[in-house]
């Protein structure tokens, strides 16, 4: 039974955590492209990447559930390498739930709002501003000069970026790094006689 539990734990980690890692790592690049408004397919890709990140993150909860079950049967629940692994896993989960997924969602929501055409003329002769109630980007002069941290030039159907995509990229990378460290800890099990 322990072998079954461990197999399920490893299988679940590969099948559920893998996609989250990939989708979260791709998200900033496609988010940038979609917000710049060049290709309308980019927005669909962004939505899909977010759905994958969110859906598989929820399914990924089976990984610690079966992991703890395995650890209890193996009697290693109090081993240092496992306690460290659990701590890092919790950290990764918190990063995902509190930083990565909400930031992704803000981008998806921003894409759903009508785009602001840069420099377009409105009916009264002024230039298009934040009158359409999109996410609270800072505008100083009423033209589409919203705070852009992604460094792109505004396209004809651009949205201002609601989050710092470079920061999102970094945090998504830290998430991946955390669980990669966990895998190494679980293989090597420092301080235990059973390590590889």
């Amino acid at each position: 039974m322990t072998k079954v539990l461990l197999s399920v734990h490893v299988l679940a980690a590969i099948i559920f955590i893998g996609p989250v890692t990939v989708a979260a790592s791709l998200f900033p690049r496609y988010g940038r492209a979609a917000l710049a408004g060049g290709d309308p397919r980019d927005a669909a890709v962004v939505r899909l990447l977010h759905r994958i990140s969110r859906g598989y993150a929820v399914l990924g909860l089976t990984v610690p559930a079966f992991g703890v079950a395995t650890a209890v049967r193996l009697g290693v629940l109090t081993d240092a390498w496992l306690l460290a692994s659990i701590t890092l896993t919790v950290l990764a989960a918190l990063l995902l739930a509190l930083v990565v997924l909400p930031a992704q969602e803000r981008v998806v929501t921003a894409l759903a709002d009508p785009p602001v055409a840069t420099g377009a003329r409105t009916l009264d002769g002024g230039t298009a501003g934040a009158a359409d109630g999109t996410t609270g980007a800072t505008r100083t002069d009423g033209t589409a000069g919203a705070t852009r941290t992604d460094g792109t030039a505004g396209g004809a159907a651009a949205h201002p970026s609601p989050v710092d995509l470079r920061r999102l990229s970094a945090v998504s990378g830290v998430f991946a790094l955390l669980w990669a460290v966990v895998v190494v800890l679980m293989v090597m099990r420092p301080g235990s006689i059973t390590g590889a």
Binding site: V8, R54, V58, L61, V68, A69, E105
Partner: protein
């Protein structure tokens, strides 16, 4: 984010169902293998119910708190959500009170509130 109703219904069913299996097993044949196999399933479902309710964003606090109840938290949360929507619809001019068709993971469901 909107609540993914299909996922929440499935998670609630697995949460309650696996607990039932565990209890019946314990009270009758008590196969340790069944306990070992079903335990983590129940744990996963419990965590998923909580995650789905929390990730939905904008759920009333009472729904979130009630989802924490072990075993039946999923169904309690669903009940409260339906009641919340019915109350919201009674005071709104929305035309279709029933949730939109579900799209699967991370997709469909009702906007909250």
């Amino acid at each position: 984010m909107r609540v993914n109703l299909t996922a929440l219904r499935i998670a609630a069913a697995v949460e309650a169902g696996s607990l039932a299996v565990l209890m019946v097993n314990r009270l009758t044949v008590h196969l340790p293998a069944l306990t070992s196999a079903t335990g983590p399933v129940h744990g996963s479902a419990y965590l998923m119910v909580i995650a789905l309710v929390l990730l939905a964003g904008g759920t009333p606090r009472s729904v979130r708190l009630v989802a924490l109840v072990p075993g039946i938290g999923g169904y309690l949360a669903l009940r409260r959500l339906y009641r919340h929507w019915d109350l919201a619809d009674a005071g709104s001019t929305r035309n279709d009170p029933r949730p939109a068709p579900d799209e699967g993971l991370g997709g469909g469901g009702r906007p909250i509130g």
